[in-house]
């Protein structure tokens, strides 16, 4: 009886944490994607939006502390690098390079929650 209760408890913990992880990643990366898309739109129009990018970088630095528990640390490092690079390009008015870097980042952000979602492809 005791082991069955522990078993059900652990099973519930795994399922609940998986569900919450999915929700958390979806919401955070959704927000990230939305804001990044706006910055890309402005960068494509050759408008300096480094302040928004800096703000997003600040937000990301706060979020990534928790994100380390769910996402492999190398991928978080990649996001950091791409954001800093894009910021530098915008400050130097290299909008084409900044846009390319931000689009690469957007692609990574879109793929991250998908890579950890429950799907046939991810299982195999």
């Amino acid at each position: 009886m005791r082991s069955t209760i522990i078993l059900l408890g652990v099973l519930a913990l795994i399922l609940a944490s998986s569900y919450l992880e999915g929700l958390y990643l979806k919401s955070k990366f959704g927000y990230f994607e939305e804001n990044l898309a706006k910055i890309i739109e402005k960068t494509d129009k050759r408008e300096d939006d480094s302040s928004s990018l800096r703000e997003l970088l600040k937000w990301w630095k706060g979020e990534k502390l928790v994100m380390h528990a769910f996402v492999p640390h190398n991928e978080i490092k990649d996001i950091d690098g791409m954001m800093v690079k894009a910021e530098e390009f915008i400050e130097e008015d290299c909008f084409i390079l900044a846009s390319a870097e931000l689009k690469k980042l957007l692609d990574l952000i879109k793929s991250l929650p998908e890579n950890y979602s429950f799907s046939f492809g991810n299982i195999f």
Binding site: S3, T4, I6, L7, V10, L11, L13, I14, S17, S18, H68, A69, F70, V71, P72, H73, N74
Partner: protein, 233 residues
């Protein structure tokens, strides 16, 4: 370095807890599925310990999943005889009163040398000193020695006990194999204080008809019945 120290401590604590929850059997006498789980756990524990880029949660969830699988298989093994046989197989009789069972030896991929080696480790030199040899489900050999008594040229038959009831359930396979009658045992259990089969924790019978009977939360009883079933042991 401090990171590795903390991560290793966390993984160790979780592994220790899981191994304790899996039971003492896990340490010394493993069933095949427990052996597989132990191998996997060892590997899974190493990855988040050494690789700092992997979230520690990945390793913990994998270890907890193995614990869940272990518990599910254990419950399945206990609750259903068929699943139990599927998961842990059954003990194999290698030597019986007729001698070495070569068919079973071949089936188990055991050579005669290996059998002799295990016989010697157990303290016997000759096959004729043994009444029964069994290969248990955990891969260990059990030997039952012949017991010669004074004044008798031929040693008496050593009784081989067989479990017929476990946790209030009949072991159908054993009953059918030996041609043992359920009605006989139900009557016997009632005479010895068990109102229903559910109250019987364990009951075994040997080839001399000696029944080891234990009611739930009670001291065991040994009953000499002389009953040996319809088929030869």
């Amino acid at each position: 370095m401090l990171l590795i120290f903390i991560r290793t401590t966390i993984i160790f604590a979780i592994l220790f807890l899981i191994i304790r929850l899996m039971g003492k059997r896990q340490i010394g006498e493993m069933q095949p599925f427990e052996f597989v789980i132990t191998l996997l756990i060892a590997e899974l524990a190493c990855i988040p310990m050494a690789d700092l880029s992997t979230p520690i949660g990945f390793g913990i969830i994998a270890i907890l999943t193995l614990f869940v699988l272990h518990q599910v298989l254990t419950i399945g093994e206990k609750s259903c005889v068929f699943i139990g046989r599927l998961i842990s197989s059954k003990p194999s009789i290698i030597i019986d009163s007729n001698g070495i069972n070569y068919k079973e030896l071949k089936h188990l991929n055991i050579s005669l040398n290996e059998l002799q080696e295990n016989l010697r480790i157990a303290g016997y030199c000759n096959f004729d000193e043994i009444e029964y040899a069994l290969l248990e489900t955990n891969g260990k050999f059990s030997f039952l020695k012949k017991q010669p008594s004074e004044g008798e040229k031929k040693p008496p038959k050593t009784p081989l006990p067989v479990c017929i009831v476990e946790e209030g359930k009949y072991k159908e396979w054993e009953l059918n194999k030996l041609g043992l009658d359920k009605d006989y045992f139900e009557k016997l259990f009632k005479e010895n204080g068990a109102k229903s089969l559910k109250e019987v924790e364990v009951a075994t019978i040997d080839s001399n008809g000696k029944v080891y009977f234990q009611k739930k939360n009670s001291k065991y009883k040994v009953i000499e019945t002389g009953y040996t079933g319809r088929r030869p042991w």
